[in-house]
């Protein structure tokens, strides 16, 4: 079957099996291997992409269900020559060790900063309303869908806090 969708601002068309996940379509058909297949069950977050602006696990999306949708992957955020604020912060803070989870961490953090701007609360927020400070506890809670088996968590949180400051 055929599905048309927009990937990193470009219209793309893929031909695929009904069973193909968005993750496999991105990696195998479009050659966008920045999104990683870690667990393939929505537990690790390495495959995180933005789907119509919201972060989701692309391993738990069927390509067939996303006709006309807008997808952003790590390849759509910056380039090696011109890193964006989060990418720069991950480099500056050494927010990784092996790097396998990093694309998912950065995609997830990108959406997380938008969710904060929209005033969406988290489980760690003291109040469900009003401004919530982006402290370490908030970042940890909001990023809990992204595992790092090297356990670079403290530096990942520092990188996100740094990028959040640059943006605000």
């Amino acid at each position: 079957m055929r599905t048309r969708l927009t990937v990193n601002g470009e219209p793309r068309e893929i031909e695929h099996d009904t069973r193909t996940t968005l993750l496999d379509a991105l990696r195998d058909q479009l050659g966008l291997t920045g999104s990683k297949k870690g667990c393939d069950h929505g537990q690790c977050g390495a495959c995180t992409i933005l789907l119509n602006g919201k972060r989701v696990n692309s391993c738990l999306c069927l390509a067939a269900m996303h006709e006309g949708d807008e997808v952003t992957t790590i390849e759509g955020l910056g380039s090696p020559e011109a890193l964006n604020a989060l990418q720069k912060a991950f480099v500056a803070k050494d927010g990784y060790q092996c790097g396998f989870c990093t694309p998912g961490q950065i995609m997830s953090a990108t959406a997380m900063l938008e969710e904060l701007r929209a005033g969406e609360p988290s489980y760690a927020s003291a109040s469900l309303e009003g401004d919530m400070p982006l402290d370490d506890t908030e970042i940890a809670e909001r990023m809990s869908g992204n595992l790092c088996r090297c356990s670079a968590y403290p530096l990942i949180r520092e990188a996100i806090a740094m990028a959040a400051e640059v943006k605000s």
């Binding site: 079957m1 269900m65 969710e115 003291a126 809990s144």
Partner: protein, 340 residues
Amino acid sequence: MRDFEYSRAESLDAAAGQLGDGASIIAGGTNLLDLMKIQVMVPGRLVDISRLEDLKGISEHGDGLRIGALVTNSELAADARVRSGWPLLSRAILAGASAQIRNKATTGGNLLQRTRCPYFYDTAMACNKRTPGEGCAAQGGVGRMLAIFGTSEHCLAAHPSDMAVALTALEAEVEIRAADGGTRLVPVRELYRLPGDRPDLETVLEEGEIITAVRLPAPLPRTRQVYKKVRDRASYAFALVSVAVAVEMKDERIAAVSLAFGGVAPRPWTDPEAEQALIGAVPGDDAFATAADALVAQASCHPDTEFKKPLLRRTLIAALREATGLAESAAATPTTRTPA
């Protein structure tokens, strides 16, 4: 994943017409696709309802809310009306899954998600829920996450939802499109069946029925609401036990109380006796302990879940302290709020 036919429904009626013969509805797919990958679920056809506008959005319905079945967990938890009037629901949803999952998982799908019992997931092990009559490997197996109420010799699995626990305490109703095209309402409290000798039959939904919405009744005035969840890690883990409390105070006594418990039963568990022990009581650890003792007295534990009895007892007491204002909620736990 086994092969399947895929069709995108253009209307609710069209979706209903394509059910039967091993077909399954798909919306968010966060649980179904996971189970299809390991072939615990092998639908021959997926009917995609994710584009049906009628099932989207949250609207005011009387003094309550009508939440479309396709409303995502994120959308529901962040809704300003839910945050102020039914904070218990926002808190419970935010206590579950990850931000990525909550962006995709829907209200209807959350209610119908399957257990995370490891024996249900492992196709090499016996499971009556997966294959009726096969046996239950959890009996005599290991299982820290198993249920302690409402189980049978055929099944020890717990329902994993946090959202459904809050909806139970808030006395929400499920709006269902019946197979004949009519609408019927089922309280969330009555949606789930206990396993008995047919653990594969999990809800009272009939073949061909589709959940279209959840209806939230007006919150009781002056209620204070708390959701307290205990789990093996700080975030992104299922509940060992969870407690939903909505309390109405009058003249410094408990005038009304609604309790529901997660992680402990095949459905969000309720206990009228524990509620009765609190009504009219002056808030305090004596009254709370009486209620908690009545609750855990009904438990029937696998050796690995004995710890849930004292844990549930303490969690209920702590939640009641917060809900009645005897304890300030900590920053990282649900707050008690008085809706406007």
